[in-house]
């Protein structure tokens, strides 16, 4: 059975503005949460640590003695 769709009630500009403000406030709060998390991640320095580990692994494999042919 198809749903009856009545004519939507007209919404005033003030009401649109109110919902817009709600949405913007939420976006700002979520942005704030991301900033909070970013500061935590920055302390871990994952990019620098990853680069150091990859470099260390490469230099470790480079310094392994080569097998000398008999």
């Amino acid at each position: 059975m198809a749903r009856k769709k009545g004519k939507k009630k007209q919404q005033s500009e003030a009401q649109y503005r109110f919902t817009q403000i709600l949405a913007v406030v939420m976006f700002c709060l979520i942005g704030g949460y991301f900033v909070q998390s970013f500061l935590t991640v920055r302390e871990q320095r994952p990019v620098m640590v990853a680069i150091e580990r990859v470099s260390a692994a490469r230099s470790a494999s480079n310094t392994e003695p080569e097998i000398q042919p008999e």
């Binding site: 059975m1 198809a2 749903r3 769709k5 939507k8 919404q11 009401q15 649109y16 109110f18 919902t19 817009q20 709600l22 949405a23 406030v25 939420m26 976006f27 709060l29 979520i30 704030g32 949460y33 991301f34 909070q36 998390s37 970013f38 935590t40 991640v41 871990q44 320095r45 994952p46 990019v47 640590v49 990853a50 580990r53 990859v54």
Partner: protein, 432 residues
Amino acid sequence: MSPKKASTREGQLVSKGDKSSLSPRERVLRVFAYVSLLAAFSIGQIANKTDYQALLQQQMPDAVLVQSEERSLPVVFRTKDKSGEISGDAVVMADGVGYGGPMVVGVRARRTDDGARISEILVLSHKETAGYQNRINRANFFRQFAGKSVTDPFLIGEDIDAVTGATVSSQGYTEAIREAVHLGAAQHLGLEPSWQTPEWRLGMEELILTALFALAILGAYRRDKLGKYLRVGVMAGALVFVGFYFNTALSLGQLAGIVMGYIPHPKLHPVWWIMIIGALGCVIVLGRNIYCHQICPFLVVQNVLQKISGVSLRIKPSIQRQARKFVFTMSWVALMLIFLSAHPALGSYEPFAMIFSLEGVGIQWYILPASLLGALFVPNFWCRLFCPVGLFLNEGVRARRTIRNKLVRRKPVTETSVLATDAMAPGGEIDG
């Protein structure tokens, strides 16, 4: 039901699931998003690889650590005393998966005549939220391991008591300790495995959750009064059980955790498995987002608030049209944070954990009241504009439709055809 007119503005999808309608700029942005996520994932995996010695040294700064039998598991460290002699104590490294991700503990054990006994448990690293870890610490959970023999079963409900309100964390730690200690007893001490192994525990919780999914699927396909009562009943059950009792609402962190391999053993956390299989299974097998329409407890909270207020305002159309892009962007930022830190909780901005278990950190405590306030005035306020789980599941439904249509060589998916099939299907997509 008259179909919506397809939007033709540049940069927006003309029809659902029709990727060829993306503008060049959108395509470039998508490629950049996927490549950057892959890069963040790789960096996170390399940077967060467990360095047992470094972790242990932080807890025992004055000790000189020597790793014994480098190539065998579990990893065992011994300490040297001042004279350079290796002591009788050993620290066995134990890995497990808790509520928030992987955890590493050090089990300090001392040799005895009959094998070895545990003297101390050192928590070396974890991804649990602060609330759950605090409960574990306040209950002195690890004290019950001290003095136990390495051949004890270490099973929750047998010789170990879980912490109320931190059951999954308790199980994760116990499983880690059990596996490491038993493996160490067999490998390093040569003891015969005489201990109990965990068994399947399928009880009322698992039955209730399975029944909720089954009834939700039935309710999604029935258009009569019974279907309506089923849907209402399932939603009420979801609020009580999925929300407050199990606190197992899906989050972006959980979904990202699957990609990172943070998957608990089904014997130890069957509820998690039922949730994931139920939600993803409905998307893949049925092509319907049953979770968002009936199982999500936060949806029910929003519906209840709407009924209380009786006010139903709309979002400005210009914002509503961009909603999907907003959620994509927020999800991308969240996933970047999760992958770089290998810590699911750092990117999970959803308010579910706060409302159902009162666990939250910092600004999260402001996101919850704001989302509830929004839900009072705007129907499905969170779902429409912010929910990453809904986006992920809806994109899964879209992808399934596209693949299916290509396989059966139907006409291309258009706005009209999608809405026509969705008109009678409450388990379809939530429009952004």
